[in-house]
Amino acid sequence: MTEQSNRLSTFHGGLKLDGHKTMSLTSPIGKAVIPAKVIIPLHQHIGDTGELLVKEGDKVLKGQPLTLSSSYVSAPVHASTSGTIVKITDHKIPHPSGLSAPCVIIETDGKDEWTEVSPVEDFRQLDATELRNRIRHAGIVGLGGAAFPTAVKLNPGPDQKIDTVIFNGAECEPYITCDDMLMRERADDVISGIQISLYALNTNNGIIAIENNKPEAIGALNQAIKKSNATNIKVISMPTLYPTGGEKQLIKVITGKEVPGNGLPADIGIIVQNVGTMAAIHQAIHFGKPLISRIVTITGKGIKKPQNLETLIGTPMADLIAQCGGYKDDAEHLVMGGPMMGFTLTTDQLPVIKGCNCLLVETSELQKKSRPTMPCIRCGECVRVCPASLLPQQLYWYASSKNFDKVQDYHLFDCIECGCCAQVCPSQIPLVQYYRFAKTEIWNLERERQKSDHARMRHDFRQARLDKEKQEREERLRKKKEMLAKKQQQENAESGEEDPKKAAIEAALARVKAKKEQAGLTPKNTDNLTAGQQKLIEEADKRRNQSKAE
């Protein structure tokens, strides 16, 4: 059933890396201890946050939903064990920013008591929509790290025919072994989840793609396939080459097809799903259990007992570290994810989230590689290894000079941040950092543009409103004047009198005249006049009287 790797295609570049996988493969998957408190971030996936369903003080049972997703691209979160909600507040979450986000904090009661679940005996009795709905309500997201809502991925749309579904068991990044262990120990669950996915996508062509450094996993899956007589699933063993597990790279290796630049795999009839996600689907459909735990690899040279632990979502990382014997003396960095694509955390007081596949404790030894950065010598090593066929040195040049148009012309957004280029760069340039910097800058510019478009619209709208109001005011004023005038005319016509305004003015004029006469027409500033002045006045008076007489 396992196909030979010589019929496979290859992708450009890639690196052979030291796996460092055995250290966490020595013991079977353990069970992480139920912590005193679980901290459940409301947002652990790509898409919108759901609406909160609970409040502080509520008692919750294991598996009880904490949020409700009303938008399409979203996933609810659930209580991972039973207990009391002590706080709903911002708490630090595992994110490169080190920022906080809203979390539900549950004080556990240790009973681990399940809420009511509704298992499905035969999923074939349900239609694809109903299955997707259940997967959606179970809060299942891609467990390979991207955390994209699985129900959305299982619904490519009516006019998108899917003919191949690839189940990603490559796990190509060093140190991480959670998928390997899952496939070894829970192959039946994985196959069962795959059957549900294939049924929901209405296709009969499932391929489990695994790197050939995992013979036990391949064996276990083949056995599970045989046991369940699954003729629609086959296992393909691929050469171990980082990053074979990248979606586009995997598709290239398995099918030889290229996903178009800005396109999705579904555009060429392919969907890629992580094997861990399949086990979660199995739990959700056959047992009605939502995604409340995941397998986390706790490993690295800086941890005493590296192993895989089935961990409740929301368990503080510090608890996991403690269960693995704690840090060694030379432990330096805690990384979430692998050494190539993960990011460094500044504290271990953070909850495990759905997308957390690995906690890597690095020692100073691993960090020593970071010698000072030198200028780029244009050796082209980065170009040789880039699995996305990009020109990393050009990207670096344009990203560092903040030329965000140019950096996009060089397909920045096709970069999968695999880190191959930075790994081989003889000048030790942290290339991926520059790409991450440029990506977030560009997103931010786009957000600002949208915001200013919105402000322009609001401003124009206000302007239009003000203009309209002014017009209306003027109109009202004009109407009122007209009405008054009309009324006056009518009144005048009725009483047969003259225009009262005119009369009033005349009356006023008359009053002024009377007053003047009363004063005897004597100007007030005629005391103390010189003889000359007096004469001038008399002459003027004479002229005036003369002209009056005339």
């Binding site: 947002h43 994110h95 490169p96 920013s97 920022l99 986000a101 000072p372 950065t373 030198m374 200028p375 780029c376 244009r378 040195q393 050009q394 670096y396 040049w397 560092s400 000079s401 340039i429 942290p430 950092q433 520059y434 991450r436 910097f437 990506k439 977030t440 800058e441 931010n444 510019l445 957000r447 600002e448 915001k451 200013s452 478009d453 919105h454 402000a455 322009r456 609001r458 401003h459 709208f461 206000r462």
Partner: protein, 187 residues
């Protein structure tokens, strides 16, 4: 039968409205000046008036008519100047400090709801209708709509409006530029 009547009636109504809308779009079409539009698209739309014009569009018109230089918009800062220089094919010049300085972080207005007397003066000043409230009622700023123009601050008789820096969220957080930047060689 009644369905048919309904369909026909609705169809007719739709048709009439279609014609009306079509007519309106021709009759009331406003000829926009494409250059002004392009300049306006690059301005931040804070509508603060710091450029000494009554908003972004008037400034855009002045630039288009060659009546104002491109360095008078503090909210846009260097980014806007560079974009304008690029669009108009002119040399980028530093921001004219007479018009103000570029704010290091974006801010939004917040009203101290205990102190607000509900005078509505800020509502009248806000260029984007971001303030909610009625006479003698407490007022509040819709954070998402506020452009941070600060125009509402001077009119407030009880000084209860303050500008606060916009909180960084997971969506707005940006990776920093790595520290050791060497100039890449010229190509």
């Amino acid at each position: 039968m009644s369905i048919l009547t309904a369909v026909i009636t609705l169809g007719l109504i739709a048709g009439i409205f279609g014609l009306l809308l079509g007519y309106a779009s021709i009759r009331f079409h406003v000829e926009g000046d494409p250059v002004v539009d392009k300049i306006d698209a690059l301005l931040p739309q804070t509508q603060c008036g710091q450029c000494s014009f009554a908003g972004c569009r008037p400034y855009a018109e002045a630039i288009a008519n060659g009546e104002a230089p491109i360095n008078q918009c503090p909210p846009g800062g260097e980014t806007t100047i560079l974009a304008l220089a690029d669009l108009l094919g002119v040399e980028a010049i530093p921001l004219n400090a007479e018009h103000g300085e570029e704010k290091p972080v974006a801010t939004v207005a917040i009203i101290d709801e205990q102190v607000c007397i509900g005078c509505t003066l800020c509502i009248q000043a806000c260029p984007v209708d971001a303030i909610l409230g009625a006479a003698k009622q407490m007022h509040t700023v819709i954070e998402d709509e506020c452009t941070g123009c600060e125009l509402c601050i001077p009119p407030c008789p009880v000084d209860c409006i303050e500008m606060i820096p916009l909180k960084e969220t997971l969506e707005t957080w940006k990776w920093p530029l790595p520290e050791h930047t060497h100039t890449a060689p010229k190509i």
